[in-house]
Amino acid sequence: MITLQELHKIREEKRKELDLRVNTKADTREKHILVCHGTGCTSSKSPQILENFRKILKEKNINNVRVIMTGCFGLCAKGPIVIIRPEDTFYAMVTPEDCEEIIQTHIIEGKRVERLLCKDIDGKIVNSLDELNFYKKQKRIALKNCGVINPENIDEYIAFNGYEALERVLREYTQDEVIDIIKKSGLRGRGGAGFPTGKKWELTKLAEGKQKYVVCNADEGDPGAFMDRSILEGDPHSVLEAMAIAGYAIGADKGFIYVRAEYPIAVHRLKIAIEQARNYGILGKNIFGTGFNFDIEIRLGAGAFVCGEETALLESIEGKRGQPRVKPPYPAQSGLWGKPTLINNVETYANIAQIILKGAEWYSSIGTETSKGTKVFALGGNVNNIGLVEVPMGTTLREIVYDIGGGIPNGRDFKAAQTGGPSGGCIPKEHLDTPIDYESLKEIGSMMGSGGLIIMDDTKCMVSLAKFYLEFTVSESCGKCTPCRIGTKRMLEILEKLCNGEGEEFDIYKLEKLAVNIQKSSICGLGQSAPNPVISTLKYFREEFRQHAIQKECKALECKAMSKITIDPEKCKGCGLCQKHCPVQAIEGEAREKRTINQDKCIKCGTCLTSCPFHAIGN
């Protein structure tokens, strides 16, 4: 337990000490080497990089340099990332072997290690983080602390106004005042559906019942989305603080975080954060001496996508099969163990403390008329700058793909972007200039979703993409209601027929009919939205479905049953690169001769396609 005075003292002292993290002109002799410890960089050995730095610094007896682990910087494509502050030097794709050189050249000699400096898409060397095009159009609110603080150290969170919002709420505001601020800010649920957050809080507060609960939905199941994970890994205390604020506002003393067990790093850091907050008396009984009690427990998800649906999540917390309940009653009236329960998603919570500190007006000045604030996207697929981006609502898809994402690699063309994962839809080229907000995306047949944003180039087959999502929903359907359990399976079978070259034109009609029926008659959001990937691809890429059904042709070469890879003898220069790369020795021909493909051996993996420098291989 610490007193409020002690908390303020920590904040003041630590803030001075950490000034160099955010101020390039900080007056200090110290340097901080920040090593990204998000899941992406950790997978490419960033913990070893951190170890090496510490070891070398110790050996060389350098005392004014600290090595810090941080959360995700966002530009995962360039990982592992090392940033040296205060000068803000950005080293990309660092290996454990590079540490020695960085210490020697950068720290001791005061020069930059040129070969490791990050290069932008245009090949320009980037001297500091802010120079990167990737960051220029971003605005970081939910990710404010990611990549700045050590997520396993509560003092660093406190230094950057951490737990100040909670203190202000408990000491100065009534419950209704807090709810009013959130309502005025215009914040809407970031989990996908976009329900106004303040309204949800109000409904739960008004619900009758002594015992109420606050739940954080961190069951980020959308494949290809990692926003919530990055927030939990990079800034776990922001979620704890917001949950406590929510607890005060609705009158709850207990919170649960339901997090995927597939996120071991996030779970680990959450556990540390909760422990530290308890030790400081920020969680527990009589917080800040105001008489308010609040504590948080973690519950692990066990790999079921449907548990991201709020009522299924509640069932799972109760230790049961995660099958959705029929709504109404909504969780605000009858949630965990039948008690009024507030459920928000991680990213929604990550905005709360900022809104309290900076005011509802500030927040609602960002974004569009109906969608306020920022949205975090996990940008992935065929785009140069894969990573985590946070942009004001209303930013266009074109800005995200080309300005922030750096365009499509290998000189290919943009074909479609997929938002909302298995519940969302595809956005084709002609809608690249659509501003991203809840309403606009819905209008063009997609949805905001939780924030997965997958870019596809012109080599992707949209029928097989639709099939991929249906495979996902079929295996994740909980089985409770018939339209979803059987209907999605039937849809998948039709798509399989099309991809195997056994389809017919009538199948397309059947697909559409089924899709509409499933949308209308399923119990929960999973079923109601499961046909979306099919409906939207049919809407924009109908011709491709017809090619599969009628001409039995997959122009993208993805549907193996229909594809036959051949080498154009006109273009082949006989370099033999394809032969060298072929994993099954299916390419025949002697040195400097034109090559041919033995169709019996070919497994249509497409490796030769990408290896040919003369674009001589196709179908």
Binding site: T39, S44, C76, G224, R229, A302
Partner: protein
Amino acid sequence: MQENTEKNCCTEKVIDFVKNLEKVYKQEKDNLISMLEEIQEKYGYIPKEAQIELSEYLGIPMAEIYGVITFYSRFTLEPKGKHTISVCFGTACFVKGSKKIMDRLTDRLKIEPGKTTDDGLFSIDETRCVGACGLAPVFTVNGEVYGKATVQKLDQVLDELLKEESN
């Protein structure tokens, strides 16, 4: 993680392990999933002895426990192979060609995803996003992530494992 899993253990050990869990977890039904997680982590599957013990402790019928185990994809009723190779099927990996990696893997090991080879050496899994989208496509071998994967890279890793096993 995989290194900690103990396979082919005897009944008493399993029951002892569950009894130890009982000291940590209260006798409340909502602890079922958390306790199953620990058992899965330790043994790589949920042995029947553990289910019986849990059923008695938490007062939940065996059928219901079976229902929960089969509902969640993290729990399995069969022991895993010595090496688990998982191919990520998150959208980012799918778009970058993880299907080709999986096709090659099932081709070479002659088993379907979710199954274990007869010699008990390899299990193959399709996993949802492991979160290393910057390295897509990704496969993992016993929890270790191999990024920017190609069919060649998979072959290389598989060849090494097979060589290691034949020695």
